[in-house]
Symmetry: C2
Subunit: 394 residues, 2 copies
């Protein structure tokens, strides 16, 4: 058995959300899934592709092109044209994957060798470190701080550079911090990266949920072929269950990534790709998405303003992007006399789960710099948020 794998605990948010599922009265703020479902165009296209199969296999019953159905790649290129103002070549700059997770590890595998180092913020999304380590690469955490909104600063990256540094992994809009790395800041990261021969992998799955600060993709800012964007349909269209993601990169990177993808995956679901293409080309779906994002923002702002009124949670603020509030619970723990064994965030998450029936993720799941925090999703809709607030206020 793989000792490195055995040593990894299943991530704690999974444990808590499984508890929440076993206790139906629990209000589950652990999972960052919007309450809206897929656009009509997605389901309609898929229903056509599913219905009444004949005796013979249809093209979509067979393997898609290993880089992804060209129809979907063209639709993705069109999205980047309209949202980021760039022209991607669907033939050479895109690879369709099993969600953004499926793009991330293929990207890491493609641009690094065993023992190479991937720099990433502490705190950061919880699957990055185990995924990187299981590939035999090393994780180098660069601490960030709530004091300046968890920015990843170039001087801090520079301090952690070694001969084995190969990648800076950026997540913006960020999970769990909600930080949006602005265009100027991202351009500085790219400059730093190209000076040192690093790749910048940008997980931008929350791209359409930036509030106030404009979302910029590394695909639009990097001019040296070292930027790799990783994205998916999941948050955009509420279709995390359907598993469609993609990678954007230089032709050289995508050629190698596509080769690796063939060996591990052959391809991803053909018909679902075609449904994804229909949704991405659908102006109505795009309009609904803007409405959904504005609603999530409105409900989240109200919820967090109310949370900030609760004793000990006065520092709670609405983030620049994403679905999550990363809430400092140090003062809350003190006021409520919560006994802390492991970390403040874990103790508060346990307290909220068992005393209030509200499930949140302890910040320690995202790294040491998150130990005073818990992550609360505000994507679940106003009814859920109101009930959560009532329980928190009790």
């Amino acid at each position: 058995m793989n000792g490195a794998l055995s040593a990894l605990a299943p991530h704690s948010s999974k444990r808590i959300s499984e508890y929440a599922q076993r206790h139906p009265g629990t209000i589950d703020l652990t999972v960052g899934l919007p309450s809206f479902g897929p656009p009509r165009s997605f389901g309609e296209r898929l229903a056509v592709l599913s219905g009444s199969p004949g005796e013979s296999a249809r093209p979509e019953d067979r393997y898609a092109h290993s880089r992804g159905a060209i129809e979907l790649r063209a639709a993705i290129a069109q999205v980047y044209r309209s949202e980021q103002g760039i022209d991607l070549d669907p033939d050479t700059q895109l690879l369709v994957t099993n969600g953004a997770a499926g793009a991330l590890w293929i990207a890491v595998l493609t641009v690094t060798e065993p023992g190479d180092e991937v720099l990433l913020a502490d705190p950061a999304y919880m699957i990055y470190p185990p995924m990187i380590e299981l590939l035999g690469r090393r994780v180098v955490r660069v601490p960030t701080s709530a004091a300046d909104g968890f920015a990843l600063h170039v001087p801090d990256l520079r301090k952690h550079l070694t001969e084995r540094s190969r990648v800076v992994l950026v997540n913006s809009p960020g999970n769990p911090t909600g930080r949006v790395t602005g265009g100027g800041e991202l351009a500085d990261l790219c400059t730093f990266a190209s000076e040192h021969g690093l790749y910048v992998i940008h997980d931008e799955v929350l791209d359409r949920f930036a509030y106030g600060i404009e979302h910029r993709s590394v695909a639009a800012l990097d001019h040296h072929g070292h930027g790799i964007a990783v994205n998916s349909l999941s948050k955009r269209f509420g279709v995390s269950g359907w598993r469609i993601g993609w990678m954007v990169g230089s032709p050289a990177v995508i050629a190698e990534a596509a080769k690796a993808h063939t060996f591990f995956m052959l391809a991803v679901s053909h018909a679902v790709q075609l449904a994804a293409a229909a949704a991405l080309r659908d102006p109505e779906a795009d309009g609904e998405l803007s409405v959904h994002a504005a609603e999530i923002q409105r409900h989240g702002e109200r919820f967090l303003a109310d949370v900030a009124q609760l004793p000990g949670l006065g520092g709670t603020a609405f983030p620049d992007g994403g679905f999550y509030a990363f809430v400092d619970v140090g003062e809350f723990a003190r006021l409520r006399g919560i006994h802390v064994e492991d970390s403040i965030g874990s103790a508060v998450a346990e307290y909220l789960l068992h005393e209030c029936g509200v499930a949140v993720v302890p910040g320690s799941a995202f790294g040491r710099a998150g130990e005073r925090f818990v992550r609360m999703s505000f994507a679940g809709g106003p009814g859920q948020l109101d009930r959560a607030l009532e329980r928190l206020a009790e």
Copy 2:
């Protein structure tokens, strides 16, 4: 960039099948895909899950359980009960993956560490070696020979054992050789493996295409928790494009594999899993499958008997299983005066492609022991096989 990845050529069958797609007159015998499509129950269930989405996300729009939808795991367990006479616990012994390919690499990652060795036959399915090497594990090829039907013998495995040996990878019914490893032989492999602390990973995607010799799964023969079966819906139901596969193993192996799967994949497509469950539970689909397999056998037997009449191809025989004939073309090359540069199989594949308009895969794609061979799929249906025969006879 990853040097090991850059050094890998895209596999040659891919190059040839892409050529075939660009030249529509070509008869493509490279791809082992049956001509039949999915059963009605599959499409019907999926159409229901696709159609008329409401405002809100439905459960199947959201992540499936990371081990797979329990409904699908229960259906898979039922298949093994009826076909292999074993009781699998759907909660602890099954993991649903992105096709069998997605199960294979997770299995290798789970039971080995970097530098560990995986023993496999030469010739063997072409994605095994690059997939294993890209994970930082080592491939140890054990030569087999056409003289005894490409059997993988325990004494030969023993000769290749080292301190780093961890896995024997068996593919039965086999691609490209068509070999079916019988129950006694597979049991011997399991005994050998447990004596030496090895895992036996059994790729059994062609399980329902065994002719004459009964297919036995390692899941039914291993009693020491060291057997791991890898399988998929692709060949069984003609749905390679939909990407549903699975892994069967001991609770200890599956627990670790499921953890790794979460970090890399989160889950695979939820609704497609539910459609897969419907198809696996459908007795009509099972009946159709038996008919399809019998048809493939009948057409293949006739086709290969005719091929064996062609000058230089007299040794061609119908295999014990699968969709492929692995044909010794040494004499054929000599009779036709084909100039050999790289390998006999490559030269003959190029000749058949350009002179006859018939695409086959050179045996060298599967390993050194395949250099005198080409692989021809006979799954494409009688019309295609008749046209291929005409051209080969010209």
